[in-house]
């Protein structure tokens, strides 16, 4: 029937690599350095994560741009992967969305085959390997870089991992932001962040950081009251992952903007 090596295999990614490589993204044969390609790949983003007293908050804007054009105003950049982890993506939209789908299947596959979930460390490590496999594409400009956030039940806290294109993995102890507006969002978080924040404050700071990024970066969308499009926020805690309600995000932005009006 199956060999010992096959029986020990519980990775969906390896399964596809060996048996169905046509299902994995592969643009290596295409010369993506040609300037014509560059403008047609949706990118531009700000996604961020910060810890609060009972977990972590992950937020992202909704804009995707192709060069100087708006490609999508309501794209989703923050994804729940399983009951305790979230992936926020930055880079070229196509490979990013593929990475989310693949990683989600990978974790579910492992859990079903082995009967237990991977540890948080194990999940973060697996993600490293998948980003490393994407390196030939990243070298041609199709970068897909995630921010990986998980809730660790044993420690009762959230954990934030950032990555580089080579698959290098670094853990952040309090907050981090990536994408074209990541630096601006990080500056805001740097001023506001404190250890042991209550949840509502953490969400407010996340939204404020995204707003600042949207003011400085053309690739990041701000709150859009005209169309009713707002950044998305996911909250990780012992209870699992929940979407922070859109009505409250809208209210928070109204309050933030009012404050800015007074200052102006």
């Amino acid at each position: 029937m199956i060999t010992l090596e096959e029986a020990a295999e519980s990775s969906f990614f390896s399964l596809l690599l060996k048996g169905s490589p046509h299902l994995l993204p592969n643009y290596q044969a295409v010369d993506l350095t040609h300037p014509a390609w560059k403008a047609d790949v949706p990118e531009g983003t700000t996604v961020l994560a910060l810890k609060y007293d009972a977990g972590a908050v992950v937020a992202g804007d909704r804009m995707a741009v192709e060069g100087f054009h708006v490609s999508d105003r309501r794209i989703e950049k923050v994804y729940a992967i399983d009951d305790s982890t979230v992936l926020a993506i930055a880079g070229a939209a196509g490979p990013c969305i593929e990475l989310v789908k693949l990683f989600k299947t990978e974790l579910e596959h492992y859990e079903k085959i082995e009967g237990v979930s991977l540890s948080l460390e194990g999940k973060a490590n697996k993600l490293s390997q998948m980003i490393r496999a994407n390196f030939p594409m990243a070298a041609q400009g199709l970068v897909a870089i995630p921010l990986f956030v998980g809730y660790e039940a044993g420690a009762g806290t959230g954990r934030i991992y950032k990555y580089d294109v080579t698959g290098g993995r670094y853990e952040e102890i309090s907050y981090h932001a990536i994408g074209s507006g990541g630096r601006d969002a990080k500056n805001t978080l740097k001023k506001l962040y404190k250890d042991g924040l209550p949840k509502d404050d953490a969400v407010r700071y996340a939204l404020e950081a995204l707003f600042d990024a949207s003011e400085e970066d053309l690739g990041t969308g701000g709150p859009d009251f005209f169309r009713g499009i707002f950044p998305t926020v996911k909250v990780l805690s012992a209870k699992g992952i929940s979407d922070f309600p859109e009505t409250q995000i809208r209210e928070t932005y109204s309050a933030i903007l009012q404050g800015k009006e007074i200052r102006a």
Binding site: I2, A7, S20, L23, L102, K112, I113, G115
Partner: protein
């Protein structure tokens, strides 16, 4: 040169079937039963970690009886088949029917070509929200059966099916289905299977996305007391 003995194909198949049946008869039985809450799967299993019942995909569960190593690799093959299909197409395109057919092919081919047939019997179930549920049973020779309402596999499966045939009713509650399944196991075993030795799982209609969940010993005790 030695002259090989002639054995008729009919005899070979009979011997293989007898061998497989003997192997399966040594295994414990498993029952799958539709109820209001979903599809209940119950089996006697003294081990907490070596499962006979498990999740294949969103709406599909698997149970195996007979030789553990053999149905375990069939289970893994099923998960691989389902995950690749769901990844390449959509999550709703993964169906128990197509998986059952694939299993039937694989097991049937091994039965007719390999020297040793698989000593396994497996059941695949799928819950559907709008139309009826599906229960498939695949035997050691690859024969595929589509059962209505309930089924049983393993050593005393025929007796269990007769027992359930007289008592099974549509739209039973989970509690009633669990009671009936335990009674059936008790009837054929001539002893009561303790809760700690019972493996129970449910394809739960209430859940979203991944419907499969294991029913813990505490929950089983609670259901039995009510």
């Amino acid at each position: 040169m030695t002259i090989p003995y002639y054995v008729s194909p009919e005899r070979i198949m009979q011997d293989k079937a007898e061998y497989a049946r003997k192997g399966i008869a040594r295994g414990k039985s498993i029952i799958a039963m539709e109820c209001q809450e979903g599809i209940l799967l119950v089996g006697e299993n003294p081990s907490r970690s070596l499962n006979k019942i498990s999740e294949i995909y969103d709406r599909i569960a698997f149970a195996g009886a007979g030789k553990f190593s053999e149905y375990e690799s069939l289970r893994k093959a099923g998960i691989k088949h389902a995950d690749i299909k769901g990844y390449a197409y959509g999550r709703d395109d993964v169906t128990a029917k197509s998986l059952a057919n694939a299993y039937s092919q694989i097991i049937g081919d091994i039965f007719s070509q390999a020297i040793k047939p698989l000593e396994v019997e497996i059941v695949l179930t799928q819950i559907n929200d709008d139309q009826g549920d599906e229960i498939y049973r695949i035997s050691f020779d690859g024969s595929l059966a589509d059962d209505k309402g309930f089924t049983a596999i393993g050593g005393r499966s025929d007796e269990i099916k007769r027992f359930l045939g007289d008592r099974y009713q549509e739209r039973m509650s989970l509690k009633e289905a669990l009671k009936l399944s335990s009674d059936a196991l008790k009837q054929v075993n001539n002893y009561e299977v303790g809760v700690d030795n019972l493996e129970v799982a449910l394809l739960d209609r209430q859940r979203k996305n991944r419907r499969f969940r294991r029913v813990t010993c505490d929950e089983v005790r609670k259901l039995q007391k009510e």
